[in-house]
Subunit: 304 residues, 4 copies
């Protein structure tokens, strides 16, 4: 399979397409990004890297970071984690409080905001220096010491993050947040502010395609069993209430962020990231979904 | 891989296990089944068949039939189908009217009751003799002329099916049912009443593991692209609001029925059916989920 | 208080006002009405009658009939009734299934469609000839043998009443409907089809302003205690999810129907009906609410 | 009418009755109250005062204070208020976020927590010293300079008020809170911490029974029209999702607080307060509702 050829085709197909969708505007800092950026980056478990467009530019990975938080939390506390967060798709928009209230403060899954806030709460309880240790963990997964937080994004999120504050307060009222609310939000906004390129992000996701093992060092980060469970969770919950459509169109587990990135995992083969900041109504990258659909159609690769 | 060996292990592990769960009791006819029945049947795309326990006994496949209805409807009307039914997990119990009302009569996906009622409505509009033609289609998929409806189950369902009548009336009020309500319900209860054994059901599902092609005849029933989409839908929506847990534990697309059957698809390899009539609180076979989890753990086979 | 003078003022204020709102169009028979009809009719418990405009024309009282059904059911079964229907405002549109499902088939109150369907079910169980006896009861309350069903409206409702069929089937699935579904719907559509004029309707409601006693005969139909409870129920639930606004603006218990009628009760004094077929978005007569607001403002009469 | 005689009867009926219900335990400070306290206090608009039991002891009026906040806010901003808060019953428990999210940050009515938080936000925007001016206003209504905040209750509420923090953050995310969140919560907890006796509270509510005029000074605080609207709002929304039952049983506008107080208004006549700290499942005083029901039954007084 000549991945570079297919990537080029996909890139050229959408490069000049009318740019539907809108850049995330709920925080000022995210609005500063050039809406026309477009990159595709694929890295295989055998170490080959392919790309097109702005695939070496960094962007705010936002919610994609929740997968790293899930991984670190599972590594530390194991399956006890599932007492505090569910594994079912939410069937509702990503910031809905309805389900959270109805289900007494237990978020539907770890990849919606409420679920990730619980992950942050767990990590704060277990880590000495949560922000340093989390960043070091992501740098290790990506074999890349340049990965970092963007403190302007953190500050901007804090200033406008009233809905997240509503979530965390509601869960605290049900006893499912143990630490101080401001500490949980501060840590959450840090992990969401991480910046990476398409290439770096695909590389940092390779363990999920490689049975939990970092291909470049051979180190096992998580067991095969946990890896499969993370992939299943990503498949069912990774694109909020568009997870069904994404599975249907792309056929791979994938995770999106409001920065416009989407990363998809092909177990046993590769990871691929598309970045285009314009989002559809569900909050997922418009071009990102279309590019990944065309990519899996052209390569005939899908887990189904 | 020695499938028979693993099936025996799994069968023996659960054979005498305390039988938690309750047999479906909402219609009298289903209550007549022996609650202790337990069978596992696997058929590979190369034609090998393995099994243990009551895997040659027939049982009421119930909701599993929705996958056949989806296949036939997609074969006939293609992707126009998705205008009348969604592809997202429901995040709610399988018979909930809430979402249906909120979303103006468009069911979340084709594998919840409301969605399957829309499939039935479409098939009635397109087929001359819906009941005969549907049965012939399933017989062809299973290469098995013994497959048939159970008219006692049809009669029993009709007598107690007020919730389905509520669904279909609600959708009719939104204009998403075109035919007479009694005709739609009659056809729906027929397709749910089909009886098959574990072995026969696994065989009839092989096209989904084989790119849409019947392995025993080579006939392409549906395209590769439609096959993938059906598998993705089954993965995300096949176990009602336990789809996440099932993906998480089993890692394969699967569909359950209140008769106690669950069939799972391993693309490129095989289909496997477990039948045990006692259901958990979500309406899925208690032993069925556990047996499939153990099977994929022991074989280390999963799409993730 | 010179009621006629105030009625004239109110009538003249709204007579030529731009006619906002839309006539009910969910059944063809209701659409046939002249949308510009406008009448106001007031009858006091001492027997005086006042009116303006089309206050002697008959119209379809629709949901207003639910108050009569509630009265007859309470008269027959007493407070046992409240085991099968609640007394709280619905907080949701009048045809919502959400709450009904969440609360396991017990309608929030007797004045929403689902609640009235339960009333009909109770009356069918208790009366030999429900349709005849119900009509005779209303004729007696109104001291008027000309009150009758409109069978064209019944037929029209049946043809398009899928949402009511959804409600009754859902309640039957929870065991809160005892009789045959078609019989319940048939009786329900009959009681909603009753036709009366503003004057006749105000007169038939006088018992609620007169401690349960018919002022023209002195007969006690219901006790003072039951009368107060009906008035409280009408106050809180009579205008669907606009009950708060109506109480707020008009300050009297009132009941509306999609035929464009609204009747209000002033305990100890009078009943007043306004009829104007154009409805607001909540399904209540646009002019009706405004006319009653002006009437109570000008008379400074309100229960508050 | 010999009010004292009826009050004695009611008091003696419930004095030794088995004390069902539970004292509010969500904040430690409220738990310190003697659960067996029981007082009834009635004050007429002509200045007569009657009482029994602990009717001169002060208690935490909690949510009853929302009526004072509504009055002051309406006095200052008039009907513009209704752009930021609705007038419909909530149909849901008093702390539900569901409706608030669904209706985009506009609370259903001013007497649920979210609505009162909006009132506090308005008052903060309009008053120089909100806490001082609000207290002075309540002291004026009650003609009583001893009325005061309880700062221990304020501190206790703040420590456990995560659900209120969730509400106010959610409304801020929709733009319906203008001031700093901590300021709004601080003011809200102050107004809820006010302590009064049954007698003092009945007296402070007399303006609502007296067309907006303080009977002891003759000063008009609010217009007749606004008074009626407040009474209508209290009638429909004063007892959370038990408002229907209360109207049905008691037949007067009433407002409850989790401190165990309920005050009811009889327009043109009197106000009556019952205090008993044990609450039913809906969060309203168990004995309070029963005592008021018996009182209006025995006096045959009701607005209906």
């Amino acid at each position: 399979m000549n991945y570079q050829l297919v990537i080029n085709e996909v890139y050229n197909t959408f490069r000049n397409s009318t740019n539907k969708g809108k850049i995330a505007n709920y925080i000022p800092e995210l609005k500063k990004v050039d809406a026309n950026k477009f990159g595709i980056g694929l890295v295989t478990i055998s170490g080959d890297s392919f790309g097109a467009g702005d695939y070496k530019d960094t962007f705010s990975i936002q919610s994609i970071s929740k997968v790293f938080a899930l991984t670190l939390a599972l590594k530390i506390v194991g399956n006890k984690l599932w007492k505090r967060v569910g594994v079912e798709p939410s069937g509702d928009p990503f910031n809905s409080l309805v389900q959270l209230e109805f289900e007494k403060g237990i978020p539907r899954n770890p990849l919606i905001n409420a679920g990730a806030l619980v992950l942050c709460d767990i990590l704060i309880s277990k880590l000495k220096n949560p922000k340093d240790e989390f960043l070091a963990f992501v740098q290790k997964l990506g074999n890349n010491n340049n990965i970092n937080y963007n403190l302007n994004v953190v500050a901007s999120e804090k200033k406008y993050g009233f809905k997240n504050a509503a979530h965390v307060n509601l869960m605290k009222s049900f006893g499912n947040i143990k630490n101080n609310i401001d500490d949980v939000l501060d840590f959450y906004y840090h992990i969401c502010s991480i910046e990476m390129s398409c290439e770096a992000l695909s590389k940092a996701f390779l363990l999920y395609a490689n049975r939990g093992v970092l291909p470049y060092t051979g180190e096992e980060i998580i067991s095969l069993s946990i890896t499969k469970r993370i992939n299943a969770t990503v498949q069912l919950c990774g694109l909020y209430d568009e997870a069904g459509t994404f599975s249907f169109k792309v056929g791979l587990p994938g995770k999106s962020g409001v920065g416009g990135g989407i990363v998809a995992i092909h177990p046993g083969k590769y990871c691929i990231t598309v970045w285009s900041p314009r989002l559809n109504k569900k909050g997922n990258s418009y071009k990102g979904i279309n590019a990944l659909e065309l990519f899996t159609t052209k390569t005939e690769l899908s887990i189904f």
